[in-house]
């Protein structure tokens, strides 16, 4: 944990940097980009995985949006956390827009409810290989399935929230999640270690 004096110094530095950027000091703006792009990019990239190709554009959108509301920054949160808050909204927007474009499962199609064998997860897998395998399995899923899984389980959105944000019914979301889980498990079992 950072000592209080260090936190206060960070906060003062954040406020000075913001003031300089708001004065449109180009060098301070470069410092702002240099200091925080790694954080924002890393955050965005992990959340749009496996579609990491969209991380570049989303990162840029986060910073443009940050400039547009920078005058409202009061230093209540660290500048990094404030930027990550904007990034979270941008990632939500991305999920919402992408999921709206997909065809959703027919409400009468019961195939998603088919029971599937529970894979043997008791096996001891170290964290690194688990991450690697997760990425590989997610990357092999149809995009819509990967998105709903990440939105639900990585972002912690409820089915109801996802329904509201995409304009779908909660039932449709749950069915999509069921399909995605089913497909994920199947691929996981065939993916090896």
């Amino acid at each position: 944990m950072q000592p209080v004096a260090e936190l206060q110094q960070d906060a003062a530095e954040d406020l000075k940097l913001v003031a300089d950027v708001l004065r449109k000091d180009r060098k301070a703006t470069a410092e702002f980009v240099l200091r925080y792009t790694d954080w924002v990019y890393g955050y965005v990239r992990r959340r749009v995985m496996p579609r990491t190709d969209v991380a570049d554009d989303l990162t840029q959108e986060v910073f443009v949006a940050s400039w547009q509301s920078l005058k409202n920054y009061r230093g209540n949160a660290s500048l990094r956390n404030w930027l990550l808050g904007i990034a979270r909204h941008k990632v939500d927007d991305y999920y919402r827009k992408r999921l709206r474009t997909f065809d959703w499962p027919d409400a009468e199609d019961e195939s998603v409810a088919e029971p599937c064998a529970i894979p043997a997860y008791e096996e001891q897998i170290d964290r690194a290989s688990l991450q690697k395998k997760t990425k590989r399995v997610l990357a092999g899923l149809p995009e819509a399935y990967g998105l709903v899984l990440l939105w639900r389980y990585q972002e912690g959105r409820s089915a109801r929230e996802m329904a509201e944000l995409t304009g779908k019914t909660e039932k449709a979301i749950e069915r999509m999640l069921a399909r995605a889980r089913e497909r994920f498990k199947r691929r996981w079992n065939h993916a090896g270690a």
């Binding site: 180009r26 890393g42 990585q154």
Partner: protein, 113 residues
């Protein structure tokens, strides 16, 4: 444990494991594009801080900015985004770790070297 709960726990664990992936550095071309995009936005609401003011606030200028800064022109003429016409910007936005080495050039500082 009922199957449904087991599923929820499984996927939470799996997706959390993806989230804690190691910290990644942004590509230098992303930083370059982000910087240019913010400057463009800044210009839309009026001129940038002039180069004289930038230098007065303690920042170094690149060789091209220095030339503009000492030119016998008004302060207003010293506020445009001169990097827009510079090859360093173009290279930095399109090539990872572009071969640019100007002192005090922001696009050089973005390089992950």
């Amino acid at each position: 444990m009922p199957e449904h709960d087991w599923d929820e726990e499984l996927f939470r664990a799996v997706c959390d494991s993806a989230e804690t992936a190691s910290e990644e550095r942004a590509p230098s071309r992303v930083k370059a594009r982000v910087y240019s995009a913010i400057i463009r936005e800044q210009q839309e609401s009026g001129p940038l801080q002039s180069l004289s003011e930038t230098r007065a606030s303690g920042h170094g200028l690149c060789v091209f900015e220095s030339l503009v800064q000492i030119a016998p022109v008004g302060e207003k003429a010293k506020s445009p985004f001169f990097c827009w016409t510079c090859h360093a910007r173009l290279l930095a936005e399109n090539v990872e770790d572009a071969p640019i080495f100007w002192i005090n050039c922001p696009y050089v500082t973005f390089q992950n070297r």
